[in-house]
């Protein structure tokens, strides 16, 4: 089983600011981490490999700027991925279809049996990538996976549906699947893993950055508050008194 895990470096969010051209966040000095949903996708791939215990291979793949890409691919290798592919690209792509087309052509020749992605990325959050790539490469697709089971030439996927429902589906391989958070416990890299990562193969690919987008982000802004909101701030003592006053006298929720 040849499994690709597609992952993305995400600016670590704490106090993010919009950049001066208002088209993205100011990421000049931020740290990058692996997109959280992708950590579950990687773990699921590693678990499948361990269970099959044959000639399975897990390949971690990302597209993005060199430095942050190196960082997250090293992390994936340290956790147990067998090799990595970095598709170097410094241009911001906000059209999911363009992104997926470029990505697909870079990995087509690998002929993966399975492609796992996180459900969505924290930054763009389009949630389309795994489905687009699956369709482009002629694979079956599924989203919101909360469980997987390999059955020779098929995979069974437990999907999360809306309002607390779940459903098992069975699909033929090759398949591209987006992984929902919480289905496993992503591992930490071991010291041995970190050491051995250094000797693992990382292929670096470059792309032609001449592409035209059909849709794109044009302006970032902070959401406006449309409701009458009463702000309560100050020292803990005052704030607490005020909250109790609201619960007691305004809303009559406590006696």
């Amino acid at each position: 089983m040849k499994i690709a895990v597609l992952t993305k470096a995400i600016p670590k969010v704490d106090s993010l600011k919009i950049n001066s051209s208002e088209t993205w966040i100011d990421d000049s000095n931020v740290k990058f981490v692996m997109n959280e949903h992708d950590t579950y996708a990687l773990e699921e791939a590693l678990l499948i490999k361990e269970e099959l215990d044959n000639n399975s291979e897990v390949v971690a793949i990302t597209m993005g700027a060199q430095k942050s890409s190196n960082q997250i691919i090293s992390e994936a290798l340290a956790k147990g991925a067998d090799r990595g592919i970095i598709i170097e690209n410094d241009t911001k792509i906000t059209d999911p279809l363009v992104f997926a087309k470029i990505f697909s052509e870079q990995i087509r020749e690998e002929k993966f049996d399975l492609i796992f992605c996180g459900l969505a990325s924290y930054d763009l959050g389009s949630g389309q990538t795994s489905v687009l790539i699956g369709e482009i490469l002629g694979m079956t697709t599924a989203t919101f996976a909360i469980g997987t089971k390999i059955e020779s030439s098929h995979i069974k996927v437990k999907k999360e549906l809306e309002s607390g429902y779940s459903q098992w589906i069975r699909m033929s391989l090759p398949a591209s699947i987006s992984i929902q958070s919480g289905l496993n416990n992503p591992r930490y890299p071991s010291l041995k893993g970190i050491m051995s990562a250094k000797s693992k193969e990382v292929k670096v690919k470059t792309i032609d950055s001449n592409f035209s987008e059909m849709q794109g982000f044009t302006k970032f802004f902070v959401p406006k508050n449309e409701k009458q909101t009463e702000y309560i701030e100050g020292d803990v003592e005052d704030v607490s008194n005020k909250i109790i006053d609201i619960l007691k006298n305004e809303l009559k929720l406590i006696a």
């Binding site: 969010v13 949630g127 489905v131 999360e160 309002s163 309560i232 909250i243």
Partner: protein, 324 residues
């Protein structure tokens, strides 16, 4: 033409679909296009009955044994065929789990942009400007189509359009669509949907809910919250990450993947207020947030915005309440 795709949700029309019809009616008017409503595959009879009460130019009914149950293979192939035939300017759906599951495939098949997860749209002169949340609802971004592109697939988040503004009436025409699906098009089989019940509580009927978000940090801080809710007589709810970390059971999850609630007071503690959470609690009579971040999205929908550290405020509240 503007094409609105209705969706079946366990035997009923999906509530997002009604909002999509409102979107369709507005787009049809703005662009001076025909409005066409599509009942696709699953449970078409129910959808057709619903759609017969909405004003539209055309009602398309697409039935086929290969799409009588939803699969992304069948639905993407079927919708793609219909788009190829009808050539709609915009194809519109609610941003549901199913839309997320198969619309990207239609986007590839028809080489159309899928502009998804939209919270609003505005029409300015020649331009149509879409809006979507990014960075987990921290910011919004405008999205525009390249001027050379005329057609697109759109999906709207809940509440982007008011479902009560639907223009009632009836379709001028009802047309059965012939689909050319082959057995080999569908490579996916589905089992029955089921509910994993580990329910110790029914949040949907609670009148005071205190929900914890990732700000709670660890399981060790839950007793502090339990003491607080006991003192105020509330039920404890939670956001998704807290459930994923195994800190709270799924029966406490509020959000699009959990329960929908509408208590008299919803108190969100250390919880940012991402759309998938907010859709399921914004119907609460009053909303209060406790958050260190003055710009947290939860404050946008809150009646009371408490700016502060939960680890200071919650113990202080508990202390004051148990003293009195």
């Amino acid at each position: 033409m503007i094409l609105v795709v209705l969706e079946n949700q366990r035997g009923k029309i999906h509530s997002f679909s009604r909002e999509a019809v409102v979107a369709g009616q507005i787009f049809a008017k703005k662009y001076d296009e025909e409005l066409c409503i599509l009942c696709l595959g699953e449970n078409v009879e129910v959808l057709k009955e619903e759609a017969s009460e909405f004003e539209s130019d055309k009602l398309l009914v697409a039935e086929h044994e290969l799409i009588s149950q939803y699969t992304s293979d069948g639905f993407s192939k079927a919708l793609s065929e219909i788009i190829a035939q009808e050539s709609p300017r915009f194809t519109i759906m609610g941003h549901t789990y199913i839309a997320r599951d198969f619309l990207p495939r239609v986007s590839v098949k028809q080489d159309l942009p899928f502009i998804g997860d939209l919270t609003s749209v505005s029409f300015e002169d020649e331009k149509t400007i879409f809006c979507k949340q990014v960075f987990n609802a921290k910011f919004l971004t405008n999205i525009e189509m390249d001027p050379s592109i005329e057609k697109a697939i759109l999906s709207f988040q809940s509440a982007a359009f008011d479902k009560d503004k639907i223009i009632k009436g009836s379709p001028k025409n009802i047309i059965d669509v012939k689909l050319n699906l082959k057995d080999s098009d569908v490579r996916i089989t589905s089992e029955e949907a089921f509910k994993e019940s580990d329910s110790d509580v029914d949040l949907s009927s609670a009148n005071f809910i205190v929900s914890v978000g990732r700000g709670i940090e660890s399981e060790d801080n839950i007793p502090m919250m339990e003491k607080f809710v006991e003192n105020v007589g509330a039920d404890l709810g939670s956001s998704r990450p807290v459930v994923d970390m195994g800190i709270m059971p799924k029966s406490r999850l509020v959000g699009s993947s959990g329960f929908t609630v509408s208590p008299d007071l919803y108190l969100a503690v250390g919880l940012s207020g991402a759309i998938q959470h907010v859709v399921a609690m914004k119907g609460s009579k009053k909303i209060m947030g406790i958050n260190t971040d003055r710009d947290a999205p939860i404050f946008e929908i809150a009646d009371y915005a408490v700016v502060g550290d939960l680890f200071e405020i919650i113990p202080e509240l508990t202390k004051k309440l148990s003293d009195s």
